[in-house]
């Protein structure tokens, strides 16, 4: 039921949007932004009211769809199907048809496999889905006691899957939430392609972005990078439309998209370049600038509605909108935090290139840890590589043609690259999926006047580029034995055994998850000392409550932490913990030391339920807590109270 309802809301938003925007591609883009804004507002409201339940979410969605339809009918524009073979041939040149077919097949494969697998992906299992699961269990947004920074991250990327899970009545409905971004991504591609190179390049541009290998891979994992990128590109498309038409309606699209992106990831510095094309257009048109100034309160309010709620929440609870990060200008601290972004510097760059200069030619040979393979972190594909080389030429052509819109759009590449190298702590492609659009649209811009045989050949190259990227997606899945086995099981038995998959992929950790799942009753509280990959401790399908309770010091306030042995045990009992999973990850051999010392002092209270170890994932021990007296602890139905630190 989740996806039909989502499609209904999108269709109703499209009918409303096409009253204001004649072009189908722009109406589709506006519809995606409108539907997302409506959903996020509704789910935020439900969460604050403690009503994150299926019935209110379904009623809200139906009301929103009905409201859109009523508003659309109020100022109706007749539906005139204008599709004919001639128009279709113009939109989709014949050499592109194989790419369309292959894209449909690979997307079907990717989404079908991802839907059949248990929840997977590192950050997905560590916080994106556990946060969502906790919201759904409680019916509200309370994350009291949560250990780690994820509690304070922007939450649009969790609110959208929460909506799907509520519509579908099960957490599993949220598995493909990032696929919601594909229509927005495709529409943004179509708008950019059309505004840069004319109608003929709208569909090829949309297809190239939707078939970006990393986008296809991300459509099947519970991350938020694809959602962020779709909103980022929507803002870039709105800025270009504004430059071309000077219509204020695009200011509203820009504000919504900018706000939606800011509310998805806190990498605000990647959004600063988006201001460049907007400000350049306003600088060159005094009348439009005056109009924008008059509309500024409304535009800011719209952007805030779309993306400010998590920042305001952080400000309210910690006094710092970007908590846990400190924000300093020079020596002056503007906002106090517990970590500086610089401290997070992770050297994952070496997985891809040996030095920062390596990024210059990396697009022509995409590797990770020495293997030629796409993954959840990389994979921009052949069209990006070709466009990468063409970008300076496209910029020169835009400059010569005095095409200001194209010129400033193309400048988004170096402007983003500057922040990627100057500020971003983790240099990998997935954080900047959106930027792949600029080189790809450079190619479109170079071939914008191609006609006849030249255009057919360019389209054939386009098809080959898309096809090879999709082969790379299949290669990504085919390289891992556990994925191939899962696909074989899906084709043979019609389903995947979740713990067989987890065992094959996560070794000893998968064994421990399976052993706990066999014992777990609905509502049981499972505590672990280490929060990464925590979701499967809730069982498959999820039915337990998972929390991190640590005996180690943590810089975050309001966490389930107790450094004293008696207080630690009292905390476990107060939280009604039934199982305790002690995990010493292979990469942090000191982890769990304090908890182990506590357990040694409390011999008899922790009944061993198994232990496992593997070279990749370290040692895992599972314990059941012996009860002291019946009735101790809080009800598992109630949200656990945090230990103030």
């Amino acid at each position: 039921m989740a996806w039909p309802l989502a499609a209904l809301l999108y269709a109703s938003a499209w009918l409303l949007a096409r009253n204001r925007l004649k072009r189908t591609d722009e109406a589709l883009l506006a519809a995606g932004l409108l539907a997302c804004t409506e959903v996020l507002t509704a789910i935020t409201l439900l969460g604050w009211l403690g009503l994150l339940r299926p019935a209110p979410a379904i009623i809200f969605t139906l009301l929103l769809a009905a409201g859109n339809l009523a508003a659309a009918l109020h100022r109706r524009r007749p539906l005139r199907p204008r599709l004919s073979f001639r128009r279709l041939a113009l939109l989709v040149p014949w050499p592109l048809w194989p790419a369309l077919g292959l894209a449909a097949a690979v997307l079907y494969f990717r989404l079908k496999l991802a839907a059949a697998l248990p929840f997977d992906s590192w950050d997905g299992l560590s916080y994106h889905v556990p946060i969502l699961w906790r919201w759904l269990q409680q019916g509200n947004f309370d994350l009291a006691g949560w250990v780690g920074p994820a509690r304070y991250f922007p939450w649009n990327g969790e609110l959208l899957p929460a909506w799907l899970a509520l519509l579908g009545g099960a957490l599993d409905s949220a598995k493909l939430a990032q696929a919601l971004a594909l229509p927005v991504l495709g529409a943004a591609g179509a708008v950019l392609g059309r505004r840069l190179a004319g109608l003929r390049w709208a569909v090829p541009s949309a297809l190239a972005l939707v078939c970006l290998p990393i986008a296809v891979i991300h459509a099947g994992i519970p991350y938020v990078d694809l959602i962020y990128s779709a909103f980022w590109l929507a803002a870039a498309a709105a800025a270009l439309c504004l430059e071309r038409t000077r219509r204020p309606v695009y200011l509203f699209l820009y504000a919504a998209a900018f706000g939606l992106a800011a509310g998805t990831k806190s990498t605000l510095y990647f959004q600063l370049p988006l201001l460049l094309p907007l400000l350049r257009t306003l600088y060159s048109d005094e009348a439009l600038a005056r109009r924008a100034l008059r509309l500024a309160p409304g535009l800011l309010a719209l952007a805030a509605l779309c993306g400010a709620s998590s920042y305001l929440h952080n400000w309210w609870t910690t006094g710092n909108p970007i908590f846990p990060y400190a924000f300093r200008i020079g020596v002056k601290t503007i906002f106090k935090g517990v970590v500086s972004p610089g401290e997070l510097l992770v050297t994952v760059e070496s997985w891809f290139v040996s030095s920062p200069w390596g990024w210059l030619w990396y697009p022509f040979h995409e590797t990770m840890k020495g293997a030629t393979v796409y993954g959840t972190e990389n994979g921009f594909g052949p069209l990006f590589a070709a466009g990468w080389a063409f970008w300076p030429y496209a910029l020169w052509r835009a400059r010569r043609a005095r095409d200001r819109g194209a010129f400033w759009f193309l400048l988004l590449l170096p402007a983003t690259a500057f922040f990627f190298f100057a500020l971003h702590p983790t240099r990998e492609q997935r954080y900047v999926i959106f930027i792949a659009a600029v080189p790809i649209l450079s190619l479109v811009y170079v071939f914008r006047k191609a006609a006849g045989g030249l255009r057919a050949l360019a389209a054939a190259g386009w098809t080959l580029g898309i096809a090879w990227g999709l082969f790379g997606v299949l290669n990504y899945a085919g390289r891992d034995r556990h994925t191939v086995n899962a696909w074989d099981a899906l084709r043979g038995a019609g389903q995947v055994r979740p713990f067989k998959y987890y065992r094959e992929k996560y070794g000893a950790l998968g064994e421990a998850w399976a052993a706990l799942d066999a014992r777990l009753a609905p509502g049981d509280v499972v505590a672990t000392n280490y929060g990464e990959l925590m979701l499967p401790w809730a069982g498959v399908p999820a039915r337990g409550r998972v929390i991190v309770v640590t005996a180690d010091k943590t810089p975050y306030p309001d966490t389930f932490t107790a450094t004293d042995t008696a207080a630690w045990l009292a905390l476990l009992e107060r939280l009604n913990v039934r199982y305790f999973a002690l995990w010493v990850p292979a990469w942090y051999p000191e982890e769990g030391k304090e908890e182990r010392e506590n357990m040694e002092k409390l011999a008899g209270r922790f009944i061993p339920a198994g232990n496992w170890s593997s070279a990749d994932f370290g040692k895992i021990e599972l314990y059941e807590l012996a009860r002291t007296a019946p009735g101790s602890g809080v009800s598992p139905a109630a949200p656990p109270a945090p230990a103030k630190k």
Partner: protein, 49 residues
């Protein structure tokens, strides 16, 4: 006035055509380099067939 694509005519259509054909050749050459470097993709995807 702003236009949809701002495709202003540049010096000589014949010159422009030559540039477009040259760009197309470079495009195919770059694709070929990429395919060559990523030929192993065909190996991995065979697992599914």
């Amino acid at each position: 006035m702003p236009t949809e694509t701002n495709n202003k005519p540049t010096a000589g259509r014949a010159g422009a055509r030559r540039r477009e054909w040259a760009a197309l050749l470079v495009f195919f050459a770059l694709l070929a380099v990429y395919f060559w470097n990523h030929a192993s993709f065909l190996q991995g995807m065979r697992e599914f067939f």
